[in-house]
């Protein structure tokens, strides 16, 4: 077991524990904050795997933007301060969800683990190479993504704003 394996195990355990608490906690705000822990663990493991740029973008976009959005949405939908008893899942549902998750994880693990053929030398892909490929080979998907982001922005604005004009017209 090399130093890289040890570092990967540490951040992987952090990610799995964070994910476990994010899924099972009853406090809604705690769930979003445990998601931060899980994503930081994932970012650490990506760092160990040698993808610094992806790890930094993950922290910037997920922890910086997505979790803040989720927290805002929780506040806007009147999340309770204490445990969320209104949306508590029953025992059968919790058992079923746990079994489903275990089955999915087991299926993926049995499919993937035989593919791991021993210890490999970590390939180093520098950020310069990533940038060159991103604006060379992948430039058209990249441009398409900007259109997707624009469409998502405008669509989210239109959906969240609602049809106030119709409401105003029908209101007495």
């Amino acid at each position: 077991m090399t130093a890289l394996d040890t570092a990967f195990t540490a951040s992987g355990v952090l990610a799995v524990l964070g994910g476990l608490f994010a899924v099972t906690t009853r406090h809604v705000v705690h769930a979003a904050l445990w998601l931060v822990v899980a994503l930081l663990g994932v970012a650490g493991s990506l760092l160990v795997l040698g993808a610094e740029l992806v790890a930094l973008v993950l922290v910037l976009v997920y922890v910086g933007a997505v979790v803040v959005l989720v927290l805002f949405a929780l506040m806007l939908t009147r999340a309770p301060i204490g445990p969320d008893v209104a949306h508590a899942a029953g025992r059968w549902r919790a058992t079923g969800a746990g079994l489903l998750g275990l089955a999915t994880a087991g299926l993926l693990a049995t499919a993937l683990v035989p593919l791991a053929d021993g210890t490999v030398e970590r390939a180093d892909v520098t950020t310069t190479q990533v940038a060159g490929q991103l604006f060379g080979t992948w430039v058209w998907p990249f441009e398409l993504l900007s259109l997707l982001l624009l469409a998502a922005l405008v669509g989210a604005l239109a959906v969240a704003r609602g049809d106030r004009a119709v409401d105003g017209a029908t209101a007495p």
Binding site: L4, L49, L53, V54, F72, L100, D117
Partner: protein, 104 residues
């Protein structure tokens, strides 16, 4: 030197946790937490292929960037829909049926 079993097991565990969260949660906002966990499992798998030296065109770094961007767009639209539903029905419980008077 790194062993590939670690990334594969981590990806499987994250996807399993995410699926369990999607099945468990009744709060529509917290459903997205499970979706994020599934997507991060996919990220780990993509980057693991790069670390194994099995990718061309730096796909192991570029495709995760694309995935993160698409996930951010998805979360924005999903939260907008959740807010619109909350404004209309006053609840974000995924189990609750809509009342007949809600129907147009």
């Amino acid at each position: 030197m790194i062993h590939l079993v670690g990334p594969y097991l981590l990806a499987a565990a994250l996807v399993g946790l995410g699926v369990a969260g999607i099945a468990l949660r009744r709060n529509a906002v917290l459903l997205l937490v499970g979706v994020e966990l599934v997507l991060s499992g996919g990220l780990v798998l993509l980057v693991a292929t790069q670390a194994a030296g099995a990718d061309r065109w730096a796909a192991g770094s570029v495709l995760p960037l694309f995935t993160i961007t698409i996930a951010a767009a998805e979360v924005v639209v999903a939260l907008a829909v959740v807010l619109a539903v909350f404004r209309q029905r006053g609840s974000i419980d995924l189990d609750r049926r809509s009342e007949p008077e809600d129907a147009p």
